[in-house]
């Protein structure tokens, strides 16, 4: 069914339906990895929670989108299945923020970002744009037809990324 696809925390979605918009709400330390291949008309969004699946391999097997190292391959493969090509893919990162923590215990956002960057780099994937870090909460959406990305920070006004 065409329309708005809401991606939950630790989940992902891909689509090649021009009428679709893929949205994920309320990213704190989690990161949304958004991909779009304009030529194939394919878009995808992964809402990952944590950097590595070593934390809980069982969970990674049943819900790969929870972790960066299992979610990213799943996101890209799902997009390839719909005809997307790696070299044409536009990649955008959003999220990875954290609380005002001087001790650094709550650095999930930073660790998520580092993990995503490292995996993408190793796989020769460049990041086109990003809006990451800080102490904010983000909601983001992708239009599958145009590849346009909009976002809201702390529930404020919508703006294009």
């Amino acid at each position: 069914m065409a329309g708005r696809i809401a991606v939950g925390v630790g989940d992902l979605a891909v689509s090649k339906d021009k009428r679709d918009e893929i949205v994920t709400y309320s990213l704190g330390s989690c990161i949304a990895v958004i991909i779009h291949d304009a030529k194939a008309g394919v878009g995808g969004l992964l809402h990952l929670m944590l950097p590595t699946s070593t934390l809980n391999p069982q969970r990674a097997a049943s819900q790969p989108a929870v972790f960066a190292d299992t979610g990213l391959p799943r996101l890209f493969r799902s997009a390839y299945d719909l005809g997307a090509v790696k070299g044409r893919m536009k990649v955008v990162l959003v999220g990875g923020s954290q609380v005002l923590d001087e001790g650094g215990h709550f650095n999930i956002g930073k660790r998520n970002y580092a993990a995503v960057r490292k995996i993408l780099y190793r796989n020769n994937v460049l990041v086109d744009k990003e809006d990451v870090g800080g102490n904010v909460n983000r909601t983001v959406g992708l239009r599958v037809d145009t590849g346009e990305i909009w976002m809201k920070v702390n529930g404020g006004n919508l703006r294009k990324l």
Partner: protein
């Protein structure tokens, strides 16, 4: 009337919390309480009884047999679940309003509070914290001050935002500076007005600065930790985003090892689904 006085007056005029919440909390605080008394208390309220049975028969608890009585529900769900159902059913009513000032849609604040309560309970179980019902209630009500403060925050949002963005303050500090009171302390006033036990009043009032509470430090630390984790993992971030302070020594206060943080964060995945389901059933 000064602004602070006006806000405090509103806190004290909030409708009373249903008596059953107090009664249930009072009962289960005694570790040797009799189950029959819990059942008798719940039975007094047909609405809650019906709600408990509906919940017990929902796929959420995955019980195979049909539950038709409170005794059966208690036997199969256990005290903790039963108490959680009763308390959340009563508290949800207070949260079912828009929180425009905090830019939260209807239900968002309740989801956040429910997630915090479920997470606090998970952490509490992990470290074998004794007072589960009080911890659950404190976590469920930790943002009750936002219900009142929302309209004032909305009206002075620019001043608050400026302090956060340019002054490097946390949102709570900015609330205090602009309005004279923050949502945590105000929540404490509400909890006291509702005659909650001191531990709940303290945990609510100090959930953004647990290190400053003089008593009930561990419970306050647990509520603070669950709140920060829930927000970090995207459960209910509004206008304040993640501009909240992390108290030094929070993990020590809560009695949790810092290296457990990812494991706890992962719990949010299931809690998110649970909170959705509980919310849909409460409506």
């Amino acid at each position: 009337m000064s602004l602070v006085k006006e806000i405090l007056a509103k806190a004290e005029n909030l409708p009373a919390i249903p008596a059953i919440v107090q009664q249930v909390l009072g009962l289960v605080q005694d570790p040797d309480f009799e189950f029959s008394r819990l059942i008798d208390t719940v039975k007094m309220d047909p609405g809650i009884t019906a709600h408990v049975l509906r919940m017990a028969n929902s796929p959420f608890y995955g019980l195979r047999q049909k539950i038709s009585s409170l005794d059966q529900a208690l036997a199969l769900l256990g005290t903790r679940n039963l108490v959680e159902i009763v308390l959340s059913a009563q508290v949800v009513k207070f949260y079912q309003v828009d929180q425009d000032g905090y830019r939260l849609a209807r239900g968002d604040l309740w989801r956040h509070c429910m997630a915090t309560a479920l997470l606090a309970n998970k952490i509490g179980a992990m470290i074998k914290f004794g007072e589960t019902a009080t911890l659950f209630t404190a976590a469920l009500l930790h943002d009750v001050g936002k219900l009142i403060l929302s309209q004032y925050v909305g009206g002075r949002y620019e001043a608050i935002e400026k302090l956060v963005e340019q002054g490097g303050k946390s949102f709570v500090e900015a609330e205090r500076e602009v309005l004279g009171v923050d949502h945590a302390l105000l929540g404490g006033v509400v909890a006291r007005h509702w005659n909650f036990p001191e531990s709940i009043v303290t945990a609510i009032a100090f959930h953004h600065m647990p290190e400053r509470s003089s008593k009930h430090k561990q419970m306050t630390g647990l509520v603070a930790l669950a709140n920060i984790l829930a927000l970090s993992m995207g459960m209910g971030g509004g206008a304040d985003g993640l501009a909240l302070p992390l108290s030094a020594g929070l993990f020590e206060l809560a009695g949790v090892k810092a290296r457990e943080i990812d494991k706890l964060a992962l719990e949010i995945k299931d809690i998110n689904d649970q909170a959705d389901e509980l919310l849909s059933m409460a409506n």
